[in-house]
């Protein structure tokens, strides 16, 4: 093969490679080297675009949450309640013989402190043993307090500045051997129930692990011995039911406020009546629902939470079906006492409504706390019809671009 065909092949290959490149964009020098058309951007605040808004309560209940709250603050009185699984009255030893429980050497009570006010160093968890009938889903703070008597007092655990007995935040306390002796008479033989409250020199609040989700439930260990004193066994019980009771209960929606968060958790449902021009004709580059709290944020100390808005796929009121989390808007993090304006980013949700009829995709959103069920944080927001503090929609949008013809 001579050199020329090789050169020809090289030239063609180089040309083929070069044909993939393209860069036709240069800096504009207006007006001579700019297009006649330009991007028209508008920033505006829309009022009166909310057709209805309210909030519903009960999505996650205290017995479903991952933590239990104890509090003695003026704003919140709360106590943890729990009913433990049955303690057996015998065991089978290593050679297969049945050994009857004869005596208890010791009782170990373990709680896992999740969050507390670290500025309060005199906190104590007071442990009460209460009748089984006192602890169920119908329990209220008022019904529980009647059992907080010296007769039911078991012991207390001091929570000082260094609380943890292990890395998971567990705190252990050896109780009197008579503590949490199960009722062996009633039908619920082998079970015990407890109420935990927190006390300190100053009002404080604390959360401990629950049997749900957290994996850090309260535990009772009984170190048992048989009639043959060489036979020993450890019985461990975790709650088969735990919850917390509180007063006051998280508020329901009022004519002026809607609530998000708390336990039982609340969600806000907001239905929009935005002129279709903004949704269907413009391109929204930023849409923010600006809301005003009607009272400071309620939350546990050192606890933060985030608000999130989801578009609604089907509007069934409190049972509305939210869209996937791929299209949602968020607001910043909140801590107890926050009272600033809430800016909820709805850009992606507003854009998802473009070109879709209201019948197919309701122009509604559900506002939730992201950490729903794992935080006590809640926020009260002004509803529409509250004048100057009513929610408004702050839109930044691009007007329809007019491409010239030709």
């Amino acid at each position: 093969m001579s050199a020329w065909p090789k050169a020809l092949a090289a030239v063609l290959l180089a040309a083929a490679g070069w044909s993939c490149t393209e860069n036709v964009v240069a800096p504009g020098h207006c007006p001579e080297a700019c297009t006649a058309e330009s991007v028209q951007q508008v920033d505006t605040v829309l009022t009166g675009v909310i057709a209805s808004d309210t909030s519903y309560r009960g999505y996650v209940t205290p017995e479903e949450s991952s933590f239990l709250v104890m509090s003695n603050t003026p704003q919140l009185q709360a106590a943890a309640i729990m009913r433990f699984a049955p303690r057996p009255s015998f065991w089978v030893n290593s050679v297969g013989d049945t050994v009857q429980l004869n005596s208890i050497d010791s009782v170990l009570f373990t709680v896992h402190v999740l969050k507390r006010d670290t500025t309060v160093t005199t906190s104590r968890i007071i442990i009460y043993q209460v009748p089984l009938s006192a602890v169920d889903t119908n329990a209220t703070y008022a019904s529980i307090t009647s059992y907080l008597t010296p007769a039911n007092l078991v012991d207390s655990i001091v929570i000082d500045s260094v609380i943890e007995d292990s890395l998971d935040g567990s705190v252990r306390k050896l109780l009197p051997t008579s503590a949490f002796t199960p009722d062996t008479v009633s039908a619920d033989s082998g079970r015990v129930a407890a109420v935990l409250v927190v006390r300190a020199d100053t009002p404080t609040v604390m959360s401990i692990g629950a049997v749900d989700i957290s994996g850090l439930p309260t535990t009772i260990n009984w170190y048992a011995r048989g009639a043959d004193t060489t036979q020993i066994e450890t019985f461990t019980a975790t709650p088969e039911f735990d919850s917390f009771v509180q007063t006051p209960l998280p508020p329901a929606a009022s004519p002026t406020s809607m609530f998000v968060g708390g336990l039982p958790s609340s969600r806000a449902l907001i239905r929009f009546a935005i002129p279709s021009y903004f949704i269907d004709s413009t391109t929204i580059v930023r849409g923010t629902l600006v809301m005003t709290p009607t009272s400071p944020v309620v939350s546990l100390p050192v606890d933060t939470f985030t608000l999130e808005a989801h578009g609604v796929l089907r509007d069934y009121g409190p049972k509305s079906y939210p869209s996937s989390s791929a299209v949602f808007g968020t607001a910043g993090r909140f801590v107890a006492g926050d009272s600033g304006t809430v800016n909820l980013d709805l850009t992606q949700i507003l854009r998802s409504w473009r070109g879709v009829s209201v019948d197919s995709l309701p122009r509604s959103i559900i506002v939730i706390v992201v950490e729903e069920g794992t935080t006590l944080g809640s926020i009260a927001l002004a509803r529409s019809g509250t004048g100057a503090i009513a929610p408004v929609l702050h839109l930044t949008y691009i007007k329809p671009y007019v491409f010239g013809v030709p």
């Binding site: 964009v25 240069a26 006649a36 391109t283 580059v285 691009i398 010239g404």
Partner: protein, 380 residues
């Protein structure tokens, strides 16, 4: 056998079709775009001076008569340019295939051909960085407006050799193409979602060209062409919105002088009456257009011996006006060019190479460009 070869050549040439356009220019955003210069690599090497005599260049249908056999050709044109003005600058790079053709001789005196070439280039892009105050904060954004596409000229032409000195040609032109315009705004503040929109516009039109080549003396030849066009209809696909722009009458005249074998000098001038389009463009919100002229001079020398033949050296200079006004003035374009050719396979394959370096300017805006031309001609 001849028919099979014809089909093969046609398939090879049309199979290489890519989006047709000339070199990309920032001046493409004005009026209907950058007016194309559908040149073969040979004609481009002489700055277009040989274009009216060049069989592969679809300007003068009579020039088709110069093909003596069935042939197909394609031209690739990489380009590189820089753009500046108002303290801003940028670079432009693109590679296009501005000309594809096929021709054959069904009779002793008749040659026919089909070419696809660029007529209007609407590939351009403009980027602007600016700031705006949004929600009390200064927010930076970048706007990018782009257009990709253009209008191609499909020509079916025939050339008839009236006598040994005179050949006449007729070309029927169909103008077709599309351009997708896009606009984007990107914010540096990620709280704002970037914006983008696009629109596709289809173009259609037609034209008729007449041409002649005449050997005046043994050393002097003359070539001329006339072309009339319909209006160019633009239709925005998304809305159906239409607009029509009158296209120009065009005329061209060229002289070719061969004082000795292997020595050719040529000059040409062309006119395009784009002022017809002015009212239509103004009605569409653009600046108007004016009638424009273009000139070129150049030559071809059989300079270098290679084997039993000689390798030509082509050269030229050209000047033209772009018809669409920029700030009320016409854009001037000037370029020098060089070219050569390599012949293979007993002259059945020719590789033409050309390069031109030039500039376009108006007011404080200037664009410098280097265009390459690679032409492959196959006569099976």
């Amino acid at each position: 056998m001849r028919a099979r070869r014809a089909v093969l050549v046609l398939a090879l040439t049309l199979g290489a079709i890519a989006p047709l356009a000339a070199q990309d220019s920032e001046f493409s955003l004005h009026g209907l775009g950058l007016v194309g210069r559908p040149m073969s690599a040979r004609a481009a090497g002489s700055a277009g001076a040989l274009a009216l005599f060049d069989a592969a260049t679809p300007l003068n249908p009579a020039a088709l008569g110069r093909w003596q056999t069935m042939v197909g050709w394609v031209v690739g044109a990489p380009s590189h340019g820089s753009f500046g003005g108002g303290g801003q600058s940028g670079t432009l790079d693109a590679t296009r295939f501005p000309l594809i053709g096929f021709a054959t001789r069904p009779g002793e005196r008749l040659a026919i051909g089909l070419t696809i070439s660029d007529y209007l280039d609407r590939s351009w892009g403009v980027s602007q960085v600016d700031t705006t105050v949004l929600r009390g904060d200064s927010t930076e954004f970048t706007d990018v407006s782009k257009s990709l596409g253009g209008v191609s000229d499909l020509q079916a032409a025939g050339a008839y050799q009236v006598s040994s000195r005179l050949t006449l040609g007729l070309g029927l032109h169909v103008l077709t193409g599309s351009a997708r315009a896009t606009v984007q705004r990107e914010y540096t503040d990620t709280s704002y979602t970037n914006y983008g929109d696009s629109a596709l516009t289809d173009f259609s039109g037609a034209g008729l060209s007449l041409g002649a080549t005449m050997q005046i003396t043994r050393t002097l030849a003359m070539s001329g062409m006339l072309r009339v066009n319909s209006s160019l209809t633009a239709k925005k696909i998304s809305t159906g919105e239409r607009a029509a722009v009158h296209l120009p009458e065009e005329a061209g005249l060229g002289l070719l002088y061969q004082p000795a074998p292997g020595v050719t000098f040529a000059a040409s001038a062309q006119y395009a009456g784009w002022a017809r389009a002015s009212d239509d463009l103004v009605a569409a919100g653009q600046e108007g257009a004016r009638n424009v002229w273009s000139y070129s001079v150049g030559g071809e020398l059989a300079a270098f011996r290679r084997g039993s033949g000689r390798t030509p050296l082509r050269f030229g200079y050209r000047s033209r006006q772009l018809p669409f006004l920029v700030g009320g003035a016409l854009v001037g374009e000037h370029a020098f060019s060089l070219g050569t050719a390599l012949v293979f396979a007993s002259a059945r394959t020719t590789l033409d190479l050309g390069v031109e370096r030039g500039s376009r300017s108006v007011g404080s805006l200037a664009e410098h460009f280097t265009n390459g031309y690679v032409g492959l001609t196959i006569a099976p």
